[in-house]
Structure formats: structure tokens, C-alpha cells
């Protein structure tokens, strides 16, 4: 009798003992399936270093905002204004670097001060507008849907007035480094960054285990822990290797050498390595994950999403929390605006159009529940990557653009249905 009853829990016990995140595995599986299918259909082009590099830098802007959208949705709110916010931040930065600083303040074009000042302006504008949204929602209790729907209409067109509807280019040379292809670490520094990231990952795994052991809590078998650590390190270094394998085109190399007054040596080649924009995304991902799991602010975000009344009764200032969450969302929109406008090397009025929907879809595909209280940062980033892979994969295969949108829309609905089934089956919130 005892033997029989032990049998079924054991199987489930193995998964629980390894503490595997089934949702994470499912999403990585979906991403791999999509990548392999497109790779087959494009004769190996989809998984070429060049395409992986492009895919990554195309995903960064939406992925950065999606991490903020997780917090917004977890607190039972929504932000429809992120695309418009990105546009106004981009417009302010374009005017700052191309008109105001060189004109009114008399800084020379190409002055090293322009890029940092521009970045500060973009981040400040985003944070301020976000905080104002949060104040309208938290303190004046206007529904988030309405406040940000208003913002959706207001901010893009405020940017339009600011730039008189013109597309602004060229942008500052240093500023363009944030865009992706123009600013990369190069092979050596990419390896160093990859090793540093690996060490951080190993340290995180090790210190979590040590803390559990110190409190005499159950831990995973050492072998499983080592295997997970190995997978993490292999993934990081593999990613670096792929980006390093994408060689800088000859013409561009020659120009880089000429800029330093040198001649391109014969047979010289160099890989791109990690783009700065991807480094920014990695930093955002790590920071936001830490905030979500290891800070009071993050704990209060999830508590408020789970039960707003209980959070209030526990002494949490949920109104101020709303202001902070939306201010953070605004800050991330500013950050995305830097990456997006630098990648496009200009500011145009339509920058970030439909991004609000892509960002919400990324968060939702990544397992963030619109009912509030649950969602993960890595899920949102993977969600953004899945959507971008689908879009650009279909583009490479030659699927018509209307059909591309139809497919992405269907995937969104399907992903949420799968997530609902997962929650039912595993009893996860």
C-alpha cells in the first residue's frame, strides 16, 4: 500500500526537487521550435550569426519596455501610452542633440557632452510623464486604461508639434552607439563580459544554495544544481560566440580604420560582439529581476496585485506604489527611446507606433496575468523575442505583411490559452 501511494508523488517530486520552472522551459522550447522551423525554411539563414545579431538588436527596445509592463500589469493596471511616450522621449532627445544644444547652448556638433545630456533629457522626460500618469491613476483614481489611452493620443502628437512634424537626422555620433550595429564591444571585451556574466550567474546560484543550507532548508541535488549552472554558462558564452562570429563588413572596417588615420591591414577581420543596446537590456533584465524578487518595492508590487486591500491593510502605501511603478515604466520608455532612435539613426513621428501593443503582448505571452499578481521579467523578454522571431522569420520566408500580423495575433491568443491550461494543471498562480 505504502509503495503504491509513493509511486505517483515521486514523479512529480522529481520535477519539484529540481525546482524546474515549467513555464520557462515551455517558452524556451517554443522559441527553439520557431527558430528551427524558420532555419529549415530559410536554408540556414535564420540562425546565421548575422540574423541572430539583427534579431537581438530589433528586440531590445520592446523587451526593455516589456519588463516595466510586467510591473504595471501585475499591479492590475495597463499602460497604453508606452509607444507614444517613446515617441515624445525620442522627439525631445532629437531636438536636444540636433537643435537646442548646438543652437541655444552653443555646443559644437560632435561635442562629447551632447550624448550624455541627451540621454539625461530622454530618461527625465519619460520618468516625469510616467510619474504623472501614476499620480493620475493612484491619487486621482482615474482608471489606468483611460489615463494611458489619453496619453496614447497626447504624447506622440506633442512630439509632432515639438519637431514640427519633421524627421530629425543626423543624430549625434556618440548617441548612435546605443543603437546596436554601430556600437559593439568587439570580440575580446565581449568574451570578458560573457565571463563576467557567467561568474555573476554562478555566484547567484551558489549563494542561494549556501543560504538555504545555512537555514537547513531542502536543496536540489548537487548534480542538478551543477547541471543548471552549466546550462546557464553555456547559454551565455554560446550567445557571445555567435555575436562574435558575425564579422564586421569590410567596407565598414576600412572606414573605422580610416577614422583613426590607419589603413586596413590585408586579411584583417573582426567580429561585432555584444552590442551596447543588448548590454543595456541585460542590465535592465538583471536589475528588474532583482527588484521583483529581492526588494520590498517588488514584494509590494506583487502583494498589491494579489490583494490590494490586504496590501493597504499591511501598511503599504499603494497610491505611492502606483506612482513609482508608472515612473519606472516611463523611465524604461525613455531608455527604449534611446535605443530605438539610435538604431533608426533618426527621429520620425511614427517611431514606436504600435509598440504599446507589442509590449503588452510580450508581457502576456511571457505569462503575465492581466488579473494581476503574477508575471516574470524573463518571461516578458522571451515573449518579446518570440514575437520578433515570428515577425522577422515570416519576413525572411516571404509571408505577406498582413498575414504576419494575423499570425502574431493568433499566437498571442494561443499563448494565453496555453498559459491558462498550465495554471490549471500545475496550480500555479
Amino acid at each position: 500500500m505504502a509503495e503504491i501511494s509513493q509511486n505517483t508523488p515521486k514523479k512529480r517530486g522529481l520535477i519539484e526537487a529540481l525546482d524546474l520552472d515549467m513555464r520557462l522551459i515551455g517558452m524556451i522550447g517554443a522559441l527553439l521550435a520557431i527558430a528551427l522551423a524558420f532555419n529549415l525554411a530559410t536554408g540556414g539563414n535564420f540562425l546565421s550569426p548575422r540574423n541572430i545579431f539583427n534579431l537581438t538588436i530589433q528586440t531590445v527596445s520592446v523587451a526593455i519596455m516589456a519588463t516595466g509592463m510586467v510591473f504595471v500589469i501585475v499591479t492590475r493596471n495597463i499602460d497604453l501610452s508606452v509607444g507614444a511616450l517613446l515617441a515624445i522621449c525620442s522627439a525631445m532627445m532629437a531636438m536636444t542633440q540636433a537643435r537646442w544644444l548646438p543652437g541655444a547652448l552653443g555646443l559644437e556638433l560632435g561635442s562629447p557632452l551632447i550624448a550624455p545630456l541627451t540621454v539625461l533629457v530622454g530618461l527625465a522626460v519619460g520618468t516625469l510623464i510616467g510619474a504623472m500618469n501614476g499620480w493620475l491613476i493612484g491619487y486621482l483614481t482615474i482608471p489606468a486604461f483611460i489615463v494611458t489611452l489619453g496619453g496614447f493620443l497626447i504624447w506622440r502628437f506633442a512630439g509632432w508639434y515639438l519637431t514640427s512634424g519633421q524627421t530629425i537626422a543626423p543624430l549625434d555620433q556618440t548617441f548612435l552607439l546605443f543603437g546596436g550595429a554601430e556600437g559593439t564591444l568587439g570580440e575580446t571585451w565581449s568574451w570578458i563580459a560573457g565571463l563576467a556574466l557567467s561568474l555573476v550567474a554562478l555566484w547567484a546560484i551558489w549563494s542561494a544554495r549556501r543560504s538555504k543550507l545555512a537555514h537547513e532548508f531542502p536543496v536540489k541535488p548537487l548534480g542538478a544544481e551543477l547541471a543548471l549552472a552549466g546550462v546557464a554558462v553555456a547559454a551565455i558564452l554560446g550567445f557571445v560566440a555567435v555575436l562574435n562570429a558575425y564579422a564586421i563588413p569590410k567596407g565598414k572596417l576600412r572606414r573605422m580604420f580610416e577614422a583613426q588615420g590607419l589603413e586596413l591591414p590585408d586579411g584583417y577581420s573582426a567580429g561585432h560582439g555584444l552590442p551596447f543596446s543588448v548590454l543595456i537590456l541585460i542590465a535592465v533584465a538583471v536589475a528588474m529581476t532583482l527588484v521583483a524578487r529581492k526588494t520590498r518595492f517588488g514584494r509590494y508590487i506583487f502583494a498589491t496585485g494579489g490583494n490590494p486591500d490586504a496590501a493597504e491593510l499591511s501598511g503599504i502605501n499603494t497610491r505611492m506604489l502606483t506612482v513609482k511603478v508608472f515612473a519606472l515604466m516611463g523611465f524604461l520608455c525613455g531608455l527604449s527611446a534611446i535605443v530605438a532612435s539610435a538604431r533608426l539613426q533618426s527621429h520620425a513621428n511614427d517611431i514606436g507606433t504600435l509598440d504599446e501593443l507589442r509590449v503588452i503582448a510580450a508581457a502576456v505571452i511571457g505569462g503575465t496575468a492581466l488579473a494581476g499578481g503574477s508575471g516574470t521579467i524573463y518571461g516578458a523578454i522571451l515573449g518579446a523575442l518570440i514575437m520578433q522571431s515570428l515577425t522577422s522569420g515570416m519576413g525572411m520566408v516571404g509571408v505577406d505583411s498582413p498575414l504576419q500580423n494575423i499570425v502574431v495575433g493568433a499566437v498571442l491568443v494561443l499563448a494565453v490559452w496555453i498559459d491558462i491550461q498550465y495554471r490549471k494543471r500545475w496550480g500555479k498562480p
Binding site: S211, K212, A214, H215, F217, L290, K294, T295, R296, R299, Y300, F302, A303, T304, G305, G306, N307, D309, A310, A311, E312, L313, S314, G315, I316, G373, S374, G427, P429
Partner: protein
């Protein structure tokens, strides 16, 4: 005569013209259990939410150890060592037991990050005392039974050395065995000198657990009686008729 632990003097609060609590005064001594009785809508929960900081009184005064205090929000109440077990339990269902127990008062590492392992260790300690059968420390509280959820809410109230405990219908959702555990806990806490307000509409609970009972009807205080001096019927009369019993008056 000793100073009361809590005195709520002449408390009033109105919601849009309805006098939910109308010039009510109650008090509580250390090591005493005072029952608050009344029909649904009599104002007992509202009165107690003023003490726990969920509402602010329009007028009246709260004294703790004879000194006036201002309680504007739940944080103020906690600072006065007032803890509340709400009828709804007020748990964040998506968080685990330890996160709920320490919600708003997280233990942090020297770097300022929340220390989940330390909080879980503390939760295990207090649960070993309150509900030794409790095992589910790493699942969200939505996965717990009613009794287990109740014990998380109780643990949260007693962990932080409360001096004044408010229990709003603590046994309403519990089976007989768990009700007995709550009764034993109340005896333990009394012995430690903690004062308890017990909100209930079950007269038998009040007769069994309380030293005194204050009865409310339509926002007004009907009267406060020593439980030993009255019968079930006397209390029932106070609740239904809104008149103090003639014998005990």
C-alpha cells in the same frame, strides 16, 4: 483601578449621511477579552477598523495606556502594537506564507534586499508553535486550506509582539477542531497579558471566550456587561431589542 490598555472614547464615523458608528465608547484591559456583538451592519467591524487604522473616525479619541494616540493608517496602528486578524484574513493569495507574515515588515539583508530564507525560518518557528501540522511553506497561500490560511493570518498578528489583538470573526470559516485551537490560543494570549477585542455574532463563542461583552445596534452602543453576570438570553435581548438587561444594568 488600573489604566485600560485601550480606551475608545465617543467615537463617531459617518459614510454619506449614514452614522455607522455613533458616539460609541469601549475599553479593554490587559489580559482581557472583550466581545463585540451585534447584527450585521450594527457597526462593530467599522468601530474596530478605526482602531486598526483602516478608517479614520470623524470625531472621538483613542487612548492607549491612558495616553491619546493618533491612528491615521494601518502603519500607525502597528506602531501602537495593535494587530488585526480580519474576517477576510487580508492575505495576498499569490505570495507564500512567509511573505504574507512579514508583508510590510520584511526582514532585509545588510544590503537592503529582502531575506526570504530568514523570513521562512522565522515562519517555520512560529508555525511549529501555532499549527504544528503546517508544512506548505513554499507555495502561495491560495493553495492552502481555510484553516491553514487562518493560521497564517494569526501568526502574522501574534509574531510581532502585539499588545492589543483584534479578531474579526476568527472562527467563522473554521471546523470544530480548528475553532478549539483558536480558543486555546486566546487563552494563551490572555495569560501573556494581551488584550483582545473579539468580534462575533455567535453568542456562545462570546459567552465561552470573553470576560466582558459590548453590544452594538444601528451604530450605537447598547451597553457593556460582564459575561459572568448575564445569560445567553440577556445578550440576545440586547442584540435584538437594543436594551440593556434590567438585572445587570
Amino acid at each position: 483601578m488600573t489604566t485600560p490598555l485601550v480606551e475608545m472614547r465617543d467615537i463617531s464615523i459617518a459614510f454619506g449621511g449614514v452614522h455607522a458608528v455613533d458616539h460609541v465608547s469601549v475599553d479593554l484591559f490587559p489580559g482581557e477579552v472583550v466581545g463585540l456583538l451585534g447584527h450585521n451592519g450594527a457597526g462593530k467591524s467599522t468601530l474596530i477598523k478605526i482602531l486598526s487604522g483602516a478608517y479614520r473616525a470623524d470625531s472621538g479619541q483613542i487612548l492607549i495606556d491612558g495616553k491619546p494616540v493618533e491612528i491615521h493608517n494601518p502603519r500607525d496602528a502597528r506602531a501602537c502594537k495593535i494587530e488585526t486578524i480580519y474576517q477576510t484574513l487580508a492575505l495576498a493569495d499569490n505570495l507564500d506564507a512567509a511573505s504574507n507574515l512579514f508583508l510590510g515588515r520584511e526582514l532585509v539583508t545588510p544590503l537592503g534586499f529582502v531575506d526570504d530564507d530568514a523570513m521562512e525560518a522565522e515562519t517555520r518557528k512560529i508555525m511549529a508553535r501555532l499549527n504544528p501540522n503546517f508544512r506548505k511553506f513554499s507555495v502561495p497561500v491560495s493553495a492552502l486550506s481555510g484553516g491553514q490560511r487562518q493560521s497564517v493570518a494569526i501568526a502574522r498578528a501574534v509574531y510581532f509582539d502585539a499588545r492589543i489583538l483584534i479578531m474579526d470573526e476568527p472562527t467563522a470559516a473554521l471546523g470544530p477542531h480548528e475553532t478549539q485551537m483558536v480558543a486555546e490560543l486566546i487563552e494563551q494570549l490572555k495569560a501573556q497579558g494581551i488584550g483582545i477585542f473579539l468580534i462575533s455574532h455567535d453568542i456562545h463563542d462570546v459567552m465561552k471566550l470573553c470576560d466582558r461583552a459590548s453590544v452594538m445596534k444601528n451604530g450605537k452602543l447598547v451597553g457593556t456587561v460582564k459575561v459572568a453576570d448575564v445569560t445567553d438570553d440577556d445578550l440576545l435581548g440586547m442584540i435584538i431589542l437594543g436594551k440593556p438587561p434590567t438585572r445587570a444594568a
